[in-house]
Subunit: 415 residues, 4 copies
């Protein structure tokens, strides 16, 4: 992470992406912004929390149709055969804009965990797997989930995975529990990629496989939704699942038996970085709210922007956001230039850096709003919960610091 | 805050309080702990979120009866004529225990905002006011609310209060909006003390009055519940209220017209310190959960207590909790020895110190639990939201730092 | 560290100590304060940095004589046969005052490392050792050093000690290197207690012994003075020593061969806590300087106390100082009540807490002074260097956090 | 600071600069690194601290000659008529390398405050001024100082300047005091640019002028050297000067009477950013030392890199260094693209960010070295003092946060 003399410092958007970027901004302003509030309000009107309100789907599909028509679709997939993808760097600029609107990403078919799942399918899927699952995903017709984290083991150490898949004739029989499976509550979610242990006797990094499990497979039991700081994000949810003798065909294994970790390397880079990119957008929103409040709310005879440390809080937020943005762009560029594997230290660096810092910025924005900052009147509390969740998702901060720290020490041949 | 040679350093519980303290602990373990989980679960079963489940009230009243019978009741009121109260110092020890259980305080009739309201009524109420409102409150038959914060002005500067009360014959006519009125959603809440502006032309500190408003007075409109980080705490709630030409008798003003601030000085000291006392108990719970998780969860082949910075996080939490406990005890003692007014800098000091630091400890406890730490499986997320709310309640951190900082500078004659 | 119902919360000075405390303050104001500046200035006038200026010794001895005459002498030694000592708690109050003046402690014969050495000699010395070394130390006629830290091993793990002492007939032959031996440069320093390895084959905690080595023993070579952030504190210094076949009589071993760690337990408790006590006094000085500057220096048309975050910085400093003071007093009380061994977690807690926090307060005081804050015009830079040094002395912060963290986990039976 | 779609994100070194960058690295390794230790040691051997040892000058001049011969000279001056300068961005890469060696910059004639002074002379000097002062400066024959900060007023608010210049016939008569005038102790320092108040009755931003004062002008009195955390950096020093009726010709005013602030805008941008650039290099050195220590020092049976939080400290240092580097490069680019004036918020942002964060990294490196980290055996303590000084130099952090915060609020039209 300290090679200076390279293209890793050219962080400009490509000429090709510039008009797309402008069109995405326009799309968000015209086709998404206007209904974000209505969409959120509808969530409270539904009788069954675990369904969508028909009007919600109408709003969403309307915007998706417009985006697709305008060619603003599936940007996330670099070097895809389908040709729609952008470089990670270009996508980083766009993702920061998407992060400003809760439904922004989905309208461009660029939302997690579908992006990661589509990338995996595109990279390692068989033609049959692609036809059955990648195609409808790329068309935005279905959604998907990724089932990795388990309630009973420390997910920070992926070797602990305890859900088993045992071959029985031509079928895998899966048993175990997973939780925090985001999006698995969505009625549109049709397919899951599940990390399982297929060979407990193999070398530690060869014991795991990833396997396709359709949501409607018998034995897939949804035990309930996990909350993140009081929010369950129904109907998408963060589901707690049990696999009770779930049977899927042998060929549902991705890439090959025992290659589960290998696939993680493929998926985790971009997935982590997409979160970070969007988080930059969220931080910008938090700062904007902070400033608007500080500049208009008065106490002791002046706007609170002129009271105490508030102006310095604003300054520090801006300084950190700009530095984070550059770091995220560079990590994206590193993936473009070095490949996901070589770029993994850059990726861990921003994953360990961004959610923690953005949490602080959102928290300070709340504080500057007084009690209302925590209320449903502002999006800050929900943003905080999401961002706090990111400090665990795809590996807790601590594990990413281990990756970065160890790489530093190894550079000096000292680990 | 730097006088060394005084009784402010004797922070021992009185001999009189020691057996009470032990009996409170026993009461909590025997009469409260067993049903805390059931109580919380019932909250999700009710049809109307804004009522209590009959079983909830049964549990609560059962424990209250036992506490009252055992003489564990109304401890919060020092030097009360009723004779039940403890010194602030003694109460601080007990409150820390109460803070470990969400319903702990209520079973001893020691929960906010009733404690503050009862103290105000006891200190400044007329005999008629006492009979009508203080008595049933002291008996735990009704509950109450305190309506100060307003949505449209910076509450950190109390002079901004905009709700008006205008005398019309023998009645006050009240108009305005209040929000974050905790407990005003509780069906048992019968009376509110409301901060109003009675004389906009008086000197800034003489414009306000506090006035008793029965909840069922026509014109008192509940607009809804405010959330704190996604939780509305129904049925008690943090209500958003509108006063539409609400009429109450002239004599409902407390202490006298234009003396609203004076009353605040009476109430705010103890109220703030009770929160801080209970927060010490909550911090102990968070640390205990953190340790139990760190000592039992394994990753990379060892308990996570032995990984990375975790042990230092535990150490720092313990160190800060112990220092905070001492500071809170000393502030309580200062109120006993110096009186609420003279002790106000001590009180602001702990109010600015404790919620912020306990937030951090709870946050670290969450982090050590992985994603589950944010979930409904552990009490941490709810504790965090409550504690985060305390950083605004009764004045945001920033205002308390102003009080402490200014007192320091004034000591040197330099403000 | 969480037993609540005990005398550990009575932190009042004893009746016996109150008049002493007042007399110490008077002594410092009358007999020490007037010449502190002259004393410091003389340091720059001497031709040989590693001697005292005669006038310096005159000032020092003058004040010592007055203190001794007034019975303000050797307070540090609780339960001493000599009868002069105070409880650790009482001494904590006095030490905080001593910490406000660089030469304060020495005028009362209460300065490190003599206090620790005298305590060890008093507790475990033979009558002959006491006569030869303890007596002149108690009379303030000579000074002493304690040689533990070594340049070539991590002193945070005391088992690493590599200086050896081998018995040759009736003499120990000592070889090795020590550094940061504070006070060993002082021409008045006549005796050292040296930690050596006497039995490399014994159990890890039985390999070390402590041994008396007169400074003028042949083979004791002073290689030079170690600096702390650019200051060498000549003539006392933090010396780098080499032991070249240094021979001392067999009976110079303290307490017994292999009992070096046991002695450390005796000495380290009070030594660590004395530093922390004095640090509270230093923090008060830093805060006072900060306030005086902030209240008098103007920028942008007002005193800087009214600019930006400065007032909050002052508030936070006061809050932390008060909490630290209470924590230090409680640790002192714990030593009085529980004994040094049982109190060791309390001691580690304040050792890990105080120097780090006081460093921050001094740093903020510097910042509020502008560049001059770092200059010789204010004592802040020197105070910072001393305080920063304390974060290593007698064990780095990290080791004390290990002690506290481990004790917490063990309370739950989980280490 | 949030315009995304621009060349501000191309932070690559130019093709022209790449070979220079490599040659500078080679120069530093071959012509500077070998004698850095000898140079520092000579500082202690001189009889007069306020002169150079002849051998020191020999080493320095030798390296300067090599650099000049190799065309590695005066890189700091973008768009100079002399043609030697690099863009700010290119220079930023080189400056980070220079920052790794104390004498690095000087060997390339790129050290402060000469760079700023030369830039000012080049931009606004008259032909006569250029010939007399700029030429020998550009040739590295003399050195210079910049006299702005005053002991008796808050320099954070430049309007406070109290040194006066009064026109008396054809001469300015200057009276006042300045301090922290870096380099004014150097016997080679021949010229000063002095900020003076020429018209106390003008508008606040028109009262000041900058004026050339040769060091040997009668009345220029050096009162002594100011220290930074115990170091006076003799013989260059940070001098305390008094101007006693100092007379210089009328034409020594730069640019024009009352245009002192205008010149500051010219000089301060690059000067601030050069410091930040070099600080990145210093942070890299600190991290390297930290890692080497952590990877080789053992305690409790393993390298301390594997103990406690140390690996995370290393990770966080790397993450922050990389983010700071990008932010500094972007600020340099902003100066290239937008001009110094428009780029000033970017510049303030890095000035407020970098020294504070690098201080922390150096401090952590010290901590990981144990007590030796503060000693003369490692460069860390000196680096800390220098970096701590930067938090005041060219405006304290607080003032730069004001600039950044205000710009943010103004973007929303709310200041």
């Amino acid at each position: 992470m300290d090679d200076l003399n390279t293209e890793l410092f050219d962080l400009t958007m490509s000429e090709k992406a510039k008009p797309l970027f402008e069109r995405v901004k326009k799309h968000l302003e015209e086709n998404v912004a206007p209904w974000q509030e209505e969409f959120a309000a509808l969530n409270k009107e539904k009788e069954d929390r675990w369904t969508w309100h028909p009007r919600q789907l109408e709003l969403l599909e309307g915007a998706k149709a417009k985006a697709r028509e305008a060619g603003l679709w599936n940007f996330f997939l670099p070097d895809a055969e389908t040709g729609e993808g952008l470089s990670n760097l270009d996508y980083a600029y766009i993702a920061a804009e998407l992060g400003k609107y809760p439904q922004g990403s989905e309208t461009l078919n660029c939302s997690a965990p579908d992006t990661g799942n589509m990338e995996v399918l595109e990279r390692v899927g068989t033609p049959a797997q692609k036809e059955k699952w990648l195609e409808p995903l790329l068309r935005g017709e279905i959604r998907s989930a990724y089932a990795m984290t388990e309630p009973n083991v420390a997910s920070s150490d992926a070797k602990n995975i305890s859900t088993t898949a045992v071959l029985d004739g031509d079928e895998w029989v899966i048993n175990g529990e997973k939780f925090y499976i985001s999006g698995a509550g969505d009625p549109r979610c049709k397919i899951m990629i599940v990390m399982v242990k297929t060979d407990p006797d193999a070398a530690p990094s060869k014991q795991q496989s990833q396997i396709l499990v359709p949501m409607d497979t018998p034995g897939v039991e949804i035990l309930g939704g996990m909350e993140v700081m009081g929010e369950d994000h129904a109907p998408r949810g963060h589901m707690h699942l049990r696999f009770n003798n779930v049977r899927v065909p042998k060929e549902n294994v991705l890439l090959g038996v025992g290659r589960g970790f290998e696939i993680s390397q493929v998926r985790l880079g971009p997935g982590r970085i997409h979160h970070c990119m969007r988080s930059i957008g969220k931080a910008e929103i938090a700062l904007e709210l902070m400033i608007k409040r500080a500049g208009t709310r008065e106490a002791f005879g002046k706007p609170i922007a002129k009271l105490g440390k508030n102006l310095e809080v604003i300054s520090r937020a801006r300084i950190e956001i700009n530095a984070m943005r550059l770091a995220v762009l560079q990590a994206a560029k590193a993936m473009d230039v070095l490949g996901n594997k070589e770029a993994r230290v850059y990726v861990s660096a921003v994953k360990a850096m961004v959610p923690e810092k953005v949490c602080l910025i959102i928290d300070q924005a709340m504080q500057m709003h007084g009690a209302a900052g925590m209320s449903q009147w502002f999006p800050l509390a929900g943003m905080y919960a999401d961002m706090r969740h990111l400090r665990y998702a795809d590996g807790p901060d601590e594990v990413h610091h281990m990756v970065v720290g160890r790489a530093e020490v190894q550079k000096h041949g000292l680990w």
